[in-house]
């Protein structure tokens, strides 16, 4: 009887210690998980921020500004037309070409 009690006591002690360890381990892992989740969220937010920045760099307004200021480009209108004439084309086409208002690109 006494021996059985002793064995049971040891078993209870071992189980208790194991429980403490498991609890500790689970909390440690939970902290890790928490950290990873926070990291994921941060990366997600960074992604969002970068996407917005990317969009902001590529908006038509920005492109227009750069094209006008840095590249000295201007808006095309059909009024600026270059007529290309065939060498052997009839004279009428040549006449039209000379009448057209054209600018060199």
């Amino acid at each position: 009887m006494a021996r059985l009690n002793l064995i049971l006591l040891l078993a209870v002690l071992a189980s208790a210690l194991y429980l403490v360890r498991t609890q500790y381990e689970s909390r440690r892992l939970y902290v890790e998980l928490e950290k990873a989740t926070a990291e994921a969220r941060k990366i997600e937010m960074d992604n969002e921020r970068l996407q917005v920045e990317k969009r902001a760099q590529a908006t038509p307004l920005k492109v227009e500004k750069l094209a006008k200021e840095r590249l000295q480009m201007r808006t095309v209108t059909p009024a600026i037309t270059q007529y290309v004439t065939y060498k052997d084309a009839p004279a009428a086409a040549a006449g039209a070409a000379s009448a057209a208002e054209g600018t060199k690109p």
Binding site: S26, R27, Y30, V31, E34, M45, E48, R49, Q51, V52, E53, R55, A56, T59, P60, L61, E64, T77, P78, A79, T81
Partner: protein, 577 residues
């Protein structure tokens, strides 16, 4: 050994212990155990709740799970507004310990003079001072790197508007508390904001979360709102409007582009505008969403509506002859005049030449009640059914109070007021075969179902007149585009100043649609006070209409319905106003 006490044989110890004593001891110990058991029962069972709570207070915390504010997207999914993290910097002035160099560095990062920073930190009575709200993330990291004691950061979110001033009036903005203040941000604040959740956790000594307890309330993320706005159309409209307002030395201007099959708003721009991220020195002029919130007398742009209602009532036919000579008409002490004497015109000619006398003579064939009912059916004098803050009703007085001269002036757009948005909306009745369709700011793909105001045949007849008005010989030939047939009506309204009309202040309008046979879009343009001499709607507003139509239809992939001809601009007919 001899000194030790022999317990068993010592006569001193042989005294007989009374039985009650041992019983008393046993009872005493039993009582003590009973006390312990009672206490244990109290703690574990009866007072359990209280002790649990006390324990929890010492290690459990409730964390708020913030909900992300939804994004605002355009019809193609491009971002118009989105939240990005931005830390706010705060300090406990008492605790701040920093060298001069550190403070100087902090001041430059916060973009504030060193003196201001010192003043903020000098107030020892305060235990909490905001140094700057919502600084950009890279700057916040640099501030963290300086490592001054007593300076803290709080995680917050800031709205970013990549499209800047082009969409400012549509999208609106939020305040520092992330609540919508203007535009869509305000109108859809509830949907965008979402609902914060919470979770109960156990924290250890180092403040790390080690366990979840109890139930979690996951946050309800803010919904993304997809608008009907096309950011490219929006940009072109803004660009053309801005260039026109500057070129015409005007005060302001607005453009509205509607999809005439679905009723979606493709673009809504105003100039002057503002950059939503930098709102420091904003003026009311910049903030005003004129297209929706300002009402004006629309002038000649009303004439097609006058004609349409007379057609619908069967009082006239497109070819009915109207005598407009001698270009003047006296009524109730007022003289209404045209810029030229057009003599005898057909109804089509009245629209084409924009004759005031012609329009009033057509209106005289109608009763005030009939006119009023049509105005109401077309949405005048009522708030547009659109999910947008600040939209105004405009003014159409009850028909019973109309005097004959007022009925006459309303025929050509004076004596009643409307916003540009209402104007463009009412033209859906012409574009959509007589049906006025509901408009929406949200993306929708189904064709809108409207209310029949005019018959399809009459709508078609008016479209033909609009096409004539926008063609050479009409008042708005500058509205012509390359490849697409257009129709529209220009308007030039004297501005009301005080009680009368200013003689040298005008408002130029142009409202029209394209392609004219099967309209896809309606474009309304308004230029406020063009002051370089070109103040006619056909000169100031029509070119903007032309360019916006051209770009928008091309972008929508609409096939050109006319062969491309070189641009020839003929002299416009001078318009009456």
């Amino acid at each position: 050994m001899s000194r030790s006490v022999l317990y068993s044989s010592s006569p001193l110890l042989a005294s007989k212990t009374p039985v009650w004593r041992s019983k008393f001891i046993v009872a005493g110990i039993a009582l003590a155990f009973a006390g312990l058991a009672g206490r244990a029962a109290y703690i574990q069972i009866f007072g359990n709740e209280f002790f649990q709570k006390q324990g929890e207070v010492r290690f459990a915390r409730t964390l708020e799970l913030p909900a992300n504010r939804g994004r605002i997207l355009d019809r193609n999914g491009l971002i118009l507004a989105s939240s990005v993290p931005a830390s706010s910097i705060w300090a406990i002035p008492e605790d701040v310990q920093a060298s001069k160099a550190q403070l100087a560095e902090l001041a430059t990062l916060l973009e504030m003079p060193l003196a201001d920073l010192n003043k903020k930190l000098g107030d020892e009575d305060k235990t909490f001072v905001w140094l700057k709200r919502q600084v950009d993330e890279p700057v916040a990291q640099k501030i963290h790197a300086i490592g001054i004691k007593g300076i803290y950061q709080r995680k917050e979110y800031k709205r970013q508007y990549p499209e800047g001033e082009t969409t400012a009036h549509v999208v609106g903005f939020t305040n520092v508390e992330d609540r919508g203040q203007e535009g869509i941000e305000l109108a859809f604040n509830k949907d965008l904001a979402g609902k914060a959740g919470s979770r109960r956790v156990i924290k250890d000594r180092l403040g790390r979360v080690v366990e979840d307890v109890g139930e979690q309330m996951p946050p309800v993320e803010g919904k993304d709102i997809q608008l009907s706005i096309d950011s490219k159309v929006q940009f072109f409209a803004y660009q053309k409007l801005r260039d026109a307002v500057i070129a015409r030395k005007a005060k302001a201007g607005s453009v509205v582009v509607l999809d005439s099959t679905t009723g979606e708003v493709l673009a809504l721009v105003n100039y002057p505008s503002y950059v939503p991220d930098r709102r420091k020195n904003l003026t009311g002029e910049q903030l005003r969403n004129r297209a929706l919130t300002d009402t004006f007398e629309p002038g000649s742009t009303m004439k097609p509506i006058t004609v349409a209602m007379a057609l619908e009532a069967g009082r006239i036919k497109p070819q009915t002859i109207i005598e407009t000579g001698p270009g003047r008409y006296s009524l109730g002490g007022f003289t209404i005049s045209d810029t030229h004497n057009y003599g005898t015109l057909t109804v089509e000619g009245v629209i084409q030449k924009s004759s005031n006398v012609g329009a009033l003579k057509i209106a005289q064939k109608m009763s005030p009640q009939e006119m009023w009912e049509t105005y109401m059916a077309l949405g005048y004098g009522q708030k547009p059914q659109i999910q947008f803050p600040g939209a105004v009703t405009g003014r159409v007085r009850p028909w019973k109070t109309w005097r004959p001269v007022e009925q006459a002036t309303m025929a050509y757009g004076y004596g009643l007021s409307a916003s540009l948005f209402q104007m463009a909306h009412s033209y859906t009745a012409f574009a959509h075969d007589g049906q006025i369709i509901p408009v929406t700011m949200l993306k929708s793909s189904e064709p809108a179902v409207g209310v029949q105001v005019f018959s399809a045949a009459n709508a078609h007849a008016v479209r033909r007149m609009l096409q004539m008005a926008a063609a050479p010989g009409g008042t708005g030939p500058l509205a012509q585009t390359v490849g697409y047939s257009v129709g529209g009506k220009s308007g030039t309204a004297h501005k009301q100043v005080g009680k009368g009309y200013a003689t040298n202040k005008y408002r130029a309008w142009f409202t029209g649609m394209a392609p004219i046979e099967a309209p896809r879009i309606i474009v309304g343009v308004m230029i406020d006070e063009p002051s370089d001499g070109n103040y006619f709607g056909g000169v100031a507003a029509a070119p903007v209409f032309s360019e916006v139509v051209q770009q928008t239809l091309r972008m929508m992939g609409v096939q050109p319905d006319m062969s491309v001809k070189p641009q020839i601009t003929t002299q416009a007919v001078e318009e009456s106003f």
